[in-house]
Amino acid sequence: MRLFKLAFGLIYRHMLLHAALIIQMTAVFLILANIVSTICLNLYSGNMMKNIFTQDFYRLEVLTERFLRVSTGGMTDISEIEAFDPEKVRGELKGDPVFCNEYVYPAFFADGRCLDLIFQDERLIKNTNFLLRGTANIEASEKEEGVIRIITAGGNYKTGDSLRGYIEVEDKTVECEFKVAGTLKKPYSYLSATNSAVSLSASVIAEELMPGQAIAFLDDMPDVTLKSANDYSGFCIYHVFFDDSLTSKEKAGNLATLQKYGSVTSAKEIEENTKKEISIWLEKKLPSLIFAAVIAVSGLSAVSLINISGNMNTFSLYCLSGCTKKRLYAIILVYILFIVSVSFIPAIGVLLISGFFRRLAAAFVFINHYTFITLGITALTLILIPVLFSLFAFRRKPLRAMILDYKKQ
């Protein structure tokens, strides 16, 4: 408290200057958080697919009439589009490949809660490297007869929870039992079959699972006829896993077959695009990251040095009153710590608020431990460098010189 009072004496003298500095530092923290969170998110999206990248995985974007109408604005004359029937195409492929689409149906639970279930194939779910809460492992989740396993995001669901309810499939109501196989940590991302781009990367095909949604195991679905996502949403994107035992010739044959129906991107290409995207991001953002850090460090260092020389009289009085140099350094440390903390707190506040009300935030802010670690390291650097500068300034200044400086003022 005493140190704080002595340090606050330094701030009080140049209130406006410090207010401006604090605003600048808060902005720098926010810029840094935004850059770091975006880089983290891109890295996370890549990480989410790391198991898939090692497999013979393909993303097939089928050229349906409706798909083309959407993507071309309905102006293209589409004459040679084959009607797409996944079961027929699957029959044309060698080695019984896993052919996954998304099926979205609402589920209503007995306790009044409801979720939109995104049904995915078990192989796709188990190969998605989900970030799970606790030690729950989806890999260990085994199929139980008559139970639909779900993976939730947010809400008050816990791994292992059993829920009774029903799903509405087309016009039918099917009573089911549900079991929470895992709960996701932020970001609640999953591999979606709805996004598309010219160059597919992990960040494009990763979608955010909203709190009112959950992933469900398609294999657990009761024996009801499902319409394909093609009919349901107008998009027709399939995740295809080839059997590992296929020869390369058979795989090439399968690939050629898939290419007849639409655009096919392999896991390798997605991985390459993801890496490229991250490196472009880093290339683009690193200079602003460094610039923001340099501005913050130099601003704070300059203000503390100016403040130290401007307050030499105060320091000399502290020393004459029995303050040791060590304590003087502690006062400077508290002073810089105070400025950095005051700048850091609103920045963290804004981040938390924007993370909570994500739609309010102009930029997507992905808050995870990396963001906090980076901000923490930045804050420490911001504290350390000006402190070192200040210590250097003091080391070169004997007490007598401080008193003489004071007398000159």
Binding site: M1, R2, K5, L6, G9, Y12, R13, N313, T314, L317, Y318, C319, L320, S321, G322, C323, T324, K325, K326, R327, L399, R400, I403, Y406, K407
Partner: protein, 227 residues
């Protein structure tokens, strides 16, 4: 209490612009003495005061405080010595502008283990002794010259020092206020603390029991004052 033995101090030593500030200065100060150090500007008075306040080093000689060589004390021990035994008062009042008179007075106690309550109580007592007890909460900037110097003296005496070093304490004050400040220092001296005043004004030195004249870094006379 204090003994200076053959102290030499040169600024910019070894350089063409070297200035000898103190040349073979020897001096003894006993408890309860009231000393005036007189000399022209540049005679070495302030250097002597800085050495006595343990803020300045010297090249040769020895400074003993209670028979302990000060040169062998660490920086923190010197700080402790300043905190416990040496009070300093300057010509320009030397108060922290952002602090109140009370907080300025408390300053030396902030570097001790003194509780907040005790600090406040002692500061109030010190301010009462210098006659400005009602100005405890008054910001230093709002005090008059005389009040500021009184607050500075209160700060010097709050630690109950064994010696108060005052560098031209009345230099910026009118004659009436100077008189009051000198009477205050005389009163403090009578409580047992040694007071060393640096001045070039004869009227001020007349308050002291002993006069030391310094010229070109040497003590040229050291006499008892006959009041």
């Amino acid at each position: 209490m204090i003994e200076l033995k053959n102290i030499y101090k040169t600024y910019n030593l070894g350089q063409p612009n070297a200035v000898v500030a103190l040349n073979d200065v020897s001096l003894k100060i006993e408890e309860g003495e009231f000393i005036a150090i007189i000399g022209k500007s540049g005679a070495g008075k302030s250097t002597l005061m800085h050495i006595l306040a343990c803020v300045e080093d010297y090249e040769k000689g020895e400074y003993l405080f209670d028979d302990q060589p000060v040169s062998k004390l660490s920086e923190s021990k010197k700080a402790k010595l300043r905190n416990k035994s040496i009070g300093t008062v300057f010509q320009d009042y030397s108060l922290i502008e952002t602090f109140s008179a009370g907080e300025n007075t408390e300053l030396p106690l902030m570097f001790t283990r003194c509780s907040k309550k005790e600090r406040k109580q002692r500061a109030e007592n010190a301010l009462r002794e210098v006659g400005i007890s009602k100005l405890y909460d008054q910001n230093a900037l709002k005090l008059s010259g005389g009040q500021r110097q009184r607050a500075a003296i209160a700060r010097a005496m709050i630690i109950k020092p064994r010696i108060i070093l005052a560098d031209e304490p009345t230099g910026a004050l009118d004659s009436e206020t100077s008189k009051q400040i000198m009477q205050l220092l005389t009163r403090i001296n009578k409580t047992g603390a040694a007071v060393v005043i640096i001045t070039h004004e004869k009227e001020i030195s007349d308050y002291c029991n002993r006069k030391i004249v310094i010229s070109d870094g040497r003590i040229v006379s050291d006499t008892l004052n006959e009041k």
